[in-house]
């Protein structure tokens, strides 16, 4: 498919309608999922005037302080991971790329592991040191990979990928070393964090997280025409008069930043950033102006549903959400792949 054809296919009206429909679906899913849980909560009791008689209103606390924040968190994280997955796949021109491919996972994993094992105990604006270290570890690793990648040549995709893979492996080895000398409880705590750890956050954190993720996505959406060109190759993009180096730096930096925010909020949740962009691309086509917002919304829907499943399926206990995303996402993606791949030239 030529780039001109692709761009003609997507009229602004079509795009807006699709985004509104997807956002509506997200709202419906969030509402339904907020009513599902191990404890039954009645909306009447939540917003009813139970305050006078009883000093505590468990319905209110479960719904507003636990379930709602968790659903909002899933929305933010799902959207961030799916969007940055789109960007990494376009930048690296590699269908296997996901937000973690350049070492973010092991970097933030290492940060979290260090905190858990050393038993650090302080808070920064109410955030546990795990989130802070995970964020710093993620950004630090991305910077390192980017730096090494540059040394291999001016934006050499292969160099960048190899640097990412090797740094990932190296940090994973450090994580394994640390967990092997740690106490059993610490090892378990780390493993749960590495499998994705969705808990309710306070509203300030959610507010800030949402602000940065939406801000970052806006930037990415703004440069999505350039991403379109880039995904067709360096030469094509240059011939269209695009400053490829600048586009790449912006896209790379912003995608890495929103991924770092997502992992510092919820641990490592795999699969969302890989499967959702592909799924959306297979169904709706490869134009990034549409792929980016739709992937963000679909990623949010997917993670909200997956997290709801994780909350209830082994009640009264809970599963790490990463387990659910992989188990649900894998087969679903395979179905999409078989059904739609003949229509799309991108994967060939």
């Amino acid at each position: 498919m030529r780039i001109e054809v692709m761009i003609e296919l997507l009229t602004p009206r079509k795009l807006v309608v699709r985004i509104i429909l997807a956002a509506g679906a997200l709202a419906v899913v969030m509402f339904i999922c907020s009513l599902v849980g191990t404890e039954s909560v009645s909306l009447k009791a939540v917003f009813g005037a139970a305050d006078e008689e009883a000093p505590v209103n468990p319905d209110y606390e479960i719904f507003v302080r636990v379930r709602l924040p968790r659903i909002i968190l899933a929305t933010i994280v799902g959207g961030a991971l799916a969007c940055s997955g789109v960007v990494f796949q376009a930048l690296l021109r590699n269908p296997l790329a996901d937000p973690y491919i350049l070492g973010i996972s092991s970097g933030c994993g290492l940060g979290a592991t260090i905190v858990v094992i050393s038993g650090l105990n302080w808070t920064l604006w109410g955030r546990s040191p795990i989130a802070v270290f995970a964020f710093a570890g993620a950004l630090g690793t991305v910077w390192l990979v980017w730096f090494v990648g540059r040394l291999t040549g001016k934006f050499h995709v292969t160099g960048l990928l190899l640097a990412g893979v090797v740094i990932n492996a190296f940090f994973s080895a450090v994580i394994m070393f640390l967990t092997s000398i740690a106490k059993a409880e610490h090892v378990y705590a780390t493993i749960f964090w590495l499998m994705g750890n969705m808990t309710e956050e306070d509203f300030l954190t959610l507010w800030l997280g949402a602000g940065f993720v939406v801000g970052g996505t806006t930037v990415l959406f703004y440069i999505s025409p350039q991403l379109n060109a880039l995904s067709f190759g360096e030469e094509d993009a240059k011939s269209m008069g695009i400053n490829t180096a600048r586009t790449r730096t912006i896209a790379f930096g912003v995608a890495a930043a929103i991924t770092a925010i997502a992992v510092s909020l919820s641990g490592l949740i795999g699969f969302v950033g890989l499967v959702i962009p592909h799924g959306v691309r297979l169904v709706f086509g490869p134009d990034h102006r549409q792929l980016l917002p739709l992937s963000g919304i679909v990623g949010a829907i997917f993670l909200v549903v997956a997290d709801t499943v994780a909350r209830i399926i082994v009640a009264p206990a809970q599963l790490p959400v990463g387990v659910v995303t992989a188990i649900v996402g894998g087969p679903f993606f395979l179905v999409l792949l078989v059904k739609y791949s003949r229509k799309v030239s991108w994967l060939k």
């Binding site: 000398i181 749960f192 801000g215 009264p316 599963l319």
Partner: protein, 298 residues
């Protein structure tokens, strides 16, 4: 470049608005651990905490436990609020507790902090050493208005342990290899409460001090450690007799090891020795019986 500045400004305003709206709420209702009165609805997030609270005579007050709390039997009838590793905060809140007791490491501390943020009282205990068990007894006793009972328990426990150590104390301490897992081989190191129990029971850890708490060891270390007794705690649902047989077979490869040569390999029930709680004495006695069976012959 103008538009980027606009975006930056919007994000900045958004952040400022967030602090303005939510910044003050955050510190409003952090639950403190000192209650005005004794707790009446208690939730315990770990099996050994459940045992402690039951031992304090709070059978009526305890309303929620984790799935793995199986002792005393009355704990099985209590409301379940998730597992030790994956607690369910919704279930905890639905139980309307006025005190939630957790252990001190990440997964557990985390739920205590989240509950505090919502306004629930919680008590976080580090119980990794025998000394800390006694401290926890006192603190939980104080928080639940059962100081007297806690002091009695502590006194009783100390007395029994003392008597035991007088009974077993000889100059030759028996070298014990405490096997946590066979493949790969992992044993209890010196910096563990198991080590303390072994010493209280008149033994000595066959493994010297290590970086690891529960070091994985190779065949070489097994051969040189000179263990006179090998103890394997049996997993709860496994058949001890079966594990005993497989243990004998596994260890037969180290024929020179005194424990193997003298057939002193013991598989014991793990619940009293895997959690540090009020049944500390029972666990220690079980170990002592393995080390010096002649003292308990009567």
């Amino acid at each position: 470049m103008n538009k980027w500045w606009w975006l930056l400004l919007i994000i900045f305003c958004w952040t400022a608005a967030g602090f303005a709206i939510f910044g003050s709420i955050q510190h409003q209702n952090g639950g403190d651990t000192t209650l005005p009165r004794a707790a009446e609805r208690i939730v315990c997030m770990a099996p050994n905490l459940t045992e402690i609270v039951f031992a304090l005579g709070l059978e009526k007050e305890i309303i929620g436990v984790t799935l793995d709390s199986d002792y005393p039997p009355a704990a099985l009838t209590k409301l379940k609020v998730g597992t030790f590793w994956q607690p369910n905060i919704e279930a905890v809140i639905a139980a309307k507790p006025d005190l939630v007791i957790t252990l001190g490491f990440e997964q557990q501390k985390n739920i205590a902090e989240r509950l505090k943020r919502i306004g629930y009282n919680s008590l976080t205990m580090n119980i990794e050493k025998v000394k800390e068990l006694f401290e926890a007894l006192e603190k939980i006793g104080a928080a639940t208005g059962k100081q007297r009972r806690a002091n009695e328990l502590e006194y009783d426990l100390r007395k029994k342990l003392n008597n035991l150590s007088v009974l077993v104390s000889t100059n030759d301490r028996i070298k014990v290899l405490w096997v946590v897992q066979r493949e790969p081989l992992r044993v209890a190191g010196r910096d563990t409460f198991i080590n303390e129990m072994i010493e209280l029971a008149g033994g000595e850890n066959a493994i010297g001090s290590t970086v690891h708490k529960y070091p994985p060891i190779g065949a070489e270390q097994v051969i040189v450690c000179g263990a006179e007794v090998i103890i394997e705690p049996a997993m709860k649902h496994d058949d001890p007799a079966k594990q005993q047989a497989s243990a004998l077979q596994y260890w037969s490869r180290f024929k020179k090891l005194p424990a193997v040569a003298n057939k002193r390999i013991y598989v014991i029930q793990d619940d009293t020795v895997s959690r540090l709680g009020p049944r500390l004495y029972e666990g220690t006695e079980t170990i002592a019986r393995c080390l010096k069976p002649e003292l308990f012959a009567n």
